[in-house]
Symmetry: C2
Subunit: 467 residues, 2 copies
Amino acid sequence: MADHLMHDNDDGTLVDQVMQTVRQRMAGRALLPGAKLPSIRGLASSMGVSKSTVVEAYDRLAAEGAIRPKRGSGFYVAGRLPPLSLAEISPRLDRAVDPLWVSRQSLEAGEGVLKPGCGWLPASWLPEESLRRSLRALARADAATLADYGTPLGLPALRHLLSRRMAEHGIEAAPEQIMLTESGTQAIDLLCRFLIEPGDTVVVDDPCYFNFHALLRAHRAKIVSVPYTPSGPDVALFEQVLIEHRPRLYITNSALHNPTGATLSPVMAHRLLKLAEQAGLTIIEDDIFADFEQEPAPRLAAFDGLERVVHIGSFSKTLSASVRCGFIAARPDWIEGLSDLKIATSFGASRLSAEFVLGALKDGTYRKHMDGLRGRLSRAMGETAAKLKTIGIEPWIMPRAGMFLWCRLPEGLDAGEIAQRVLVEGIVLAPGNAFSLSQSAGRFLRFNVAQSDDPRIFHALEKAMRQ
Amino acid sequence: MADHLMHDNDDGTLVDQVMQTVRQRMAGRALLPGAKLPSIRGLASSMGVSKSTVVEAYDRLAAEGAIRPKRGSGFYVAGRLPPLSLAEISPRLDRAVDPLWVSRQSLEAGEGVLKPGCGWLPASWLPEESLRRSLRALARADAATLADYGTPLGLPALRHLLSRRMAEHGIEAAPEQIMLTESGTQAIDLLCRFLIEPGDTVVVDDPCYFNFHALLRAHRAKIVSVPYTPSGPDVALFEQVLIEHRPRLYITNSALHNPTGATLSPVMAHRLLKLAEQAGLTIIEDDIFADFEQEPAPRLAAFDGLERVVHIGSFSKTLSASVRCGFIAARPDWIEGLSDLKIATSFGASRLSAEFVLGALKDGTYRKHMDGLRGRLSRAMGETAAKLKTIGIEPWIMPRAGMFLWCRLPEGLDAGEIAQRVLVEGIVLAPGNAFSLSQSAGRFLRFNVAQSDDPRIFHALEKAMRQ
């Protein structure tokens, strides 16, 4: 936040700036009434000011009545509950571990910041040359491609290619069952708009990709979670949840689970689909890591034939996150309603992005690039796991592929505090509770092995763990 | 719809295909329970089948109980109300004039289809060469630009440029008050998510851009409308609406109103802002046609200083609709909450799109292109108005600039029926009631003068008006 702030009041004193930051977080709904403010130590270090500056700022805000001190337990936001806020996701957590913290820190990180907690590959790991070739080809495309809107479902040639690629994973989806979106996230957002009403219950894995929490909160959904095991969600507890909460929707990853790197087993997949059928549950299978897979893993959409499973994907992880392009594969009779919603809320996805992605995917070098990338990731996975073990951080499992290592800290350490401590040294971690609805992952961290080669990361971790 | 359909059952008979189309529209929520089905004549012509085929299909669907005939008034969808559907916008209208009809027809129109009803310029009117130059430059950009995510607010250089451009319209917005979005539509969508709760009331102009209706329905807002005069909304009625309905939000265009081409007068602007202040109303000023303006017109955001007015724009109308890029300029204390929502629901806008737009805007030829475009549009405006008058279609006003002519048909003619008739000949019109919440624009059509140079349009209109 600090960088916005510097712009907003260049002439403010440090205390004013801290007060302004807190006011902005409250106004911007990052801090809800009743929410605990960041610890004095935490805010001081994340803003790079002294603790006494934060103390002074908090005292003045308390004098204004904006915040309330609670004896022995820090400061809390005063006032009544405002309209929808994503911070509602975690009313009793400060910004440090709310579900958007990791995203914001990773997206805002300047040059030189190390991001072992970030959810994507370094640009240098992506197929730079085929991206350039694709752009040069686009520069020669016809005027309509350069300047006109796409069709409601999106570039037919890309939908045909996606249909063939999904077939390789056993998923039968005709091009007419595929709709392009701006991103995998927008795909899930559109499906939530189409499938759930405010107040409906949605099941997620615990842990799961933290943005599912933020997204579902934006839809005013009730969120319940089921513990994730190395072979999928705990089916017994999943069944209980279906009975107790009657959810409308379940959002998950099958082949490479985020953050754990686990893979759904065929047995689990069948059980899940049987339960879903009995309960009339729809499942969104988020498969954006598909191309990282080494050996074929089961896909719910393949077993189910896109009856009650909706399959989504994107190209941000393997091709480029700078271009936004994702897709939905769903039952044919849902596509028109989904594209109506897409037109109403974004007037369609980018034709240029779709052409750009198509060009890069069709580039002869793409499969070769992915083969190399898989090898590079599995080497980095081994190396990162080894380095972490030497400082006492243990992987929960060794994933079959992908970029994520879900790791446990030694007894007595809090991942949120560690994350705050190393942030001061320009290192962004992904603390476990950002992924956990039950807040039961306080000892876990998610590491991106492609962003973890710098030794400073492990030195800083070791130091922070000793503090 | 017909094209999807042909893919979905290549081996189906014509009757089956018609039945399938209707089933898909019902399943896809384009046709709600209780909604009137398209007239037999209308569907026969839009699908290019005989009336007897449609009669047979309707009879079989009625036999299935999927639809119900009503003596003398056609067929209606049977069954109970499903979850949210954008077709709820117009439960008693068939697809022909629901708010998404024009968009869908325009977006799906194949080669050779004429689109005087469409809301954007032909690709050939856009700055093709500077778009190509921008893409060639992008192909040489650094790896991060090609492959990495953008920052939460979006490309700083573009936000600085936008800040300077808004200043030319008297709008003071610091780069930190500007957030890039995927499109102007997504900008409004995010603002609705941030500012309104389901059930809140929102005011729109009558007529207004039809997609406002669809978008607000997706947010489950109550929509009320105020008649639009040649100098802005009817202020007396606007005040009544504020008192009776206590709306949270008003969405409008100031400089070049869509569909009427009218311009808000300074007097009206001041009255509106005074009323908004008294009522605690927030105003979204959609200014996507800004660059078409000939003489400077008042902007609500300029008078208000972005206190209760949020200013939005995009580049789809003047640069390229193939790349998706829009922006929000709002009060500083709203920006963090808005970017949290953007990350949660789309994980940020495209960095590549922003770089592409920046490149084209900075291209020395852009202002020259816009000067030429304004002249070309005003010539086309005069020519189209003249041609329409010769066949008895009268412009409501002659706009000061832009691409739209809002025109009245002779007494006794229905724009929706005319639109259906000419669609058979491959001509997409924009019937007035698609823009009118009160459905009081049944005699109006919106013409895009940049899409109206083909004489076949006027021959087909003349013929359809004589039928």
